[in-house]
């Protein structure tokens, strides 16, 4: 049966839509019509969802997610990830290859593809690793993995250190038109570091990671990129100064894209307080100035996408000293609401945020989503922009509860999520 969302404020940045109207969804779950003319009287006998005073946007694409499969199913699996995702309006995710075994060959890739098909509600788009077993030495089969469906290549939480290997990666990826995704961090400069280097690190007595551990890798990668002009995406930025380097290279017509996690737009090193392990992130949270610079980066387009960097960790991995505990926070279901905070506090325009979590990731990762023109899969998030709520640990859907923003008051919540035209989530 066909269905229709009506009376919603529809925001689709790709098609430059920001108007009250409706979306007609055909029997197969694709968008049949969108706009003012889709009203209750015009759509005929279809299932109607009246979304007066609500916002309808393309289903959110989360560009950096750790899914737990295979090997870490006790932290997260495709089923729990899906539940968490749809409750936050996320309908597509880009998953990382930091699994056990590592997603570095065709057979493992095929295995997770089948698992995702059978177990996942949301759309899983997997990145394979850049190097075999994430060891930074030998490049993986970019061509064969791409044929299998890998949308790009990354060592995920690891960063390729060797200049020689990175040179070969850029060079070879060009042949295969493969997307390279890198989290820039120099291993030696960040060795044993657990927190931003500076006053807080000194106070807490923890080994710091200097921001230039990020800069040196960005400089190197962009230098190499300028030789080959391959497809390159910087997964996560944490330092404001990185933006200066990026703009310098962009002014030389070097083409690449960048991302930032919502954590780094919302929190800074001070929030770690007295050793709050859920706020131990990689890259680390940095200063308030860095946070403000990163927001500016999103605002002026230097940063293309915002991601949740959803990294579920079980209790045992976080109930340790700050030095020993795992990095990362669970955040896929609070992702959109937390991003809206930057709209409510006046830092970012609504359409800038939406573009960075729908249109842009779709373009970078080559995903058929992120917009709602006729013929697109009807993946849609309906949001109550004003609804206040509080993040509570016991209400988290993800298998792991390591949220960095427990008890935080947020404004704006997902009311309904549609996936391929089907209502898969509705707020209680």
């Amino acid at each position: 049966m066909k269905s229709a969302i009506i009376n919603a404020r529809i925001i689709d940045t790709k098609n430059d839509i920001d108007d009250v109207g409706g979306i007609l969804i055909d029997e197969k779950g694709f968008v049949e019509a969108i706009g003012k003319e889709v009203t209750k009287n015009n759509v005929g006998d279809v299932k109607i969802y009246d979304c007066t005073n609500k916002i309808a946007i393309p289903g959110v694409i989360d560009g950096r997610v750790f899914a737990g499969e295979p090997g870490f199913e006790y932290k997260e699996n495709y089923r729990t990830l899906s539940q968490a995702a749809i409750s936050g309006g996320v309908t597509s995710v880009v998953t990382m290859p930091n699994t056990d075994p590592v997603i570095d060959d065709v057979s493992t890739f095929d295995f997770i593809k089948r698992r995702a098909r059978d177990k996942s509600l949301i759309k899983i788009h997997s990145l394979a690793s850049l190097t075999k077993n994430l060891d930074g030495n030998e490049i993986t089969e970019f061509g064969l993995l791409k044929l299998s469906g890998a949308i790009g290549f990354t060592d995920g939480i690891k960063c390729v250190q060797s200049n020689n290997v990175m040179d070969k990666i850029f060079n070879y990826a060009k042949n295969q038109n493969a997307l390279i995704v890198q989290m820039p961090q120099d291993n030696e400069l960040s060795k044993n570091g657990v927190i931003n280097e500076g006053l807080i690190a000194t106070k807490l007595g923890l080994k710091g990671i200097p921001d230039y551990a990020e800069h040196v890798v960005i400089e190197r990668d962009l230098r190499l990129l300028s030789q080959y002009k391959s497809k390159y995406h910087i997964a996560l930025l944490s330092s404001g100064k990185s933006l200066e380097i990026i703009n310098e290279w962009k002014s030389k017509n070097i083409d690449f894209t960048t991302g930032v996690s919502i954590n780094h737009l919302s929190l800074n090193e001070n929030d770690i307080g007295e050793f709050r392990t859920f706020l131990k992130l990689s890259p680390p949270l940095r200063t308030e100035q860095d946070r403000l610079d990163l927001i500016k980066g999103v605002k002026n387009g230097t940063i293309d996408i915002i991601v949740s960097d959803h990294k579920p960790e079980d209790e045992e991995s976080k109930r340790l000293t700050f030095q020993k505990c795992a990095t990362g926070s669970s955040g896929i279901e609070t992702f959109l609401s937390l991003a809206l905070e930057q709209y409510h506090n006046g830092n970012l325009e609504l359409k800038t945020i939406i573009k960075a979590i729908t249109e842009n990731p779709a373009k970078i990762f080559g995903i058929n989503a992120g917009s709602l023109e006729k013929g697109m899969p009807a993946d849609i998030a309906v949001i109550d922009l004003e609804k206040p709520w509080v993040v509570k640990r016991d209400q988290i859907q993800s298998k792991s509860k390591n949220t960095a923003i427990e008890d935080k008051k947020l404004q704006g919540k997902v009311e309904k999520t549609f996936l391929n035209g089907k209502l898969v989530f509705e707020i209680q």
Binding site: A201, T202, L204, G205, R319, L320
Partner: protein, 317 residues
């Protein structure tokens, strides 16, 4: 007669003693005033009290220690507590048990006080949230070693009669030193002018924001100081990773008769121990009875720890 005659004293009423950062000036004054009676007691023939009779004190040391461990053991025993030392090198921790599991196990034995030393910053804070008894931090990572700072302040006060207005230089591996951090907090709070002297590779970032003066050479840093606190230099930091060699460090940063001339004529030397003679300090200078008050530090250590144990036990009632 109280040690501090003019300063207001307020009893410390928190459950745990985790760091100098959590203390106020009147609370520090109170702890040091309390310590004074124990200094006197410890010099008597009969040193035993029964203030902590029936109480159980567990010293949980994840890092090797001789003087701090024996100091806490003696302090507990002189107050009448039953003291148990946990030797972690042959315990379950080495078999993969987490700190919290160990804490829960010990907690089930109903101790009244846990004294913990751990290599990770924040370990004592973590433990204190999981157990019912009082926790004393006997050193956590690079963060704090509050009883060391208290005993250092006690030593200075007993020896010179004041802390306020003194120029005190802390020299050596500031970056990796919890002793330095706790002393910086305490001595600046008490009104001393604190200087830190270290090669810049061993100087923590933003340390000037702690209200100290930062020096990278001994001659300038030691100028006119009343007290020189030398820190222990870990040998593994001098293999080219932070410092090129031991002899280069000795030449530029060790305290010897030549460098001490820059300090006040009667400047005193302190060291938290154990000392590396011939590496951070000239061997005979360390033994110079006109200069070195290192032995007094050890003596004050027992008294200050007795005061801390007593105060925390009173807070439990």
């Amino acid at each position: 007669m109280a040690l501090f005659k003019t300063k207001q004293a307020v009893k410390y009423e928190k459950k745990h003693l985790l760091g100098i950062q959590d203390l106020s000036i009147p609370e520090i004054v109170h702890i040091l005033n309390e310590s004074q009676s124990f200094v006197e007691l410890n010099r008597k023939e009969n040193k035993k009290l029964s203030l902590l009779k029936g109480k159980t004190q567990i010293n949980l040391f994840f890092e090797s220690s001789t003087r701090t461990l024996s100091s806490f053991e003696l302090a507990g025993k002189r107050l009448g507590a039953d003291v148990m030392n946990m030797n972690v090198s042959n315990s379950a921790i080495k078999k993969g048990e987490t700190l919290i599991d160990t804490a829960m196990t010990l907690n089930a034995m109903h101790p009244d006080i846990l004294v913990i030393r751990h290599g990770d910053s924040g370990a004592a804070n973590l433990l204190s949230r999981k157990v019912n008894c009082a926790v004393i931090n006997a050193g956590d990572g690079w963060r704090e070693h509050p009883t060391q700072a208290l005993l250092d302040a006690m030593t200075i006060k007993m020896k010179i009669g004041k802390i306020e207005g003194l120029k005190i230089a802390i020299c050596g591996d500031i970056m990796h030193s919890r002793v330095a951090r706790s002393n910086i907090y305490l001595l600046t709070m008490m009104g001393a002018e604190v200087r830190v002297i270290a090669p810049s590779t061993l100087m923590p970032k933003e340390i000037h924001q702690f209200g100290v003066k930062v020096y990278t050479n001994m001659e300038d840093g030691l100028k006119d100081v009343d007290i020189i606190m030398m820190l222990r230099m870990q040998l593994e930091r001098m293999d080219g990773s932070y410092i090129p060699s031991t002899r280069e460090y000795y030449e530029f940063f060790a305290l010897d008769y030549k460098k001490i001339k820059h300090a006040k004529e009667d400047a005193l030397i302190m060291h938290p121990g154990p000392m590396n003679r011939g590496i951070e300090i000239d061997a005979s200078l360390a033994d110079d009875i006109n200069r070195s008050i290192i032995v007094q530090q050890v003596e004050m250590g027992v008294a200050v720890r007795m005061a801390c144990l007593k105060i925390l036990m009173e807070n439990q009632i």
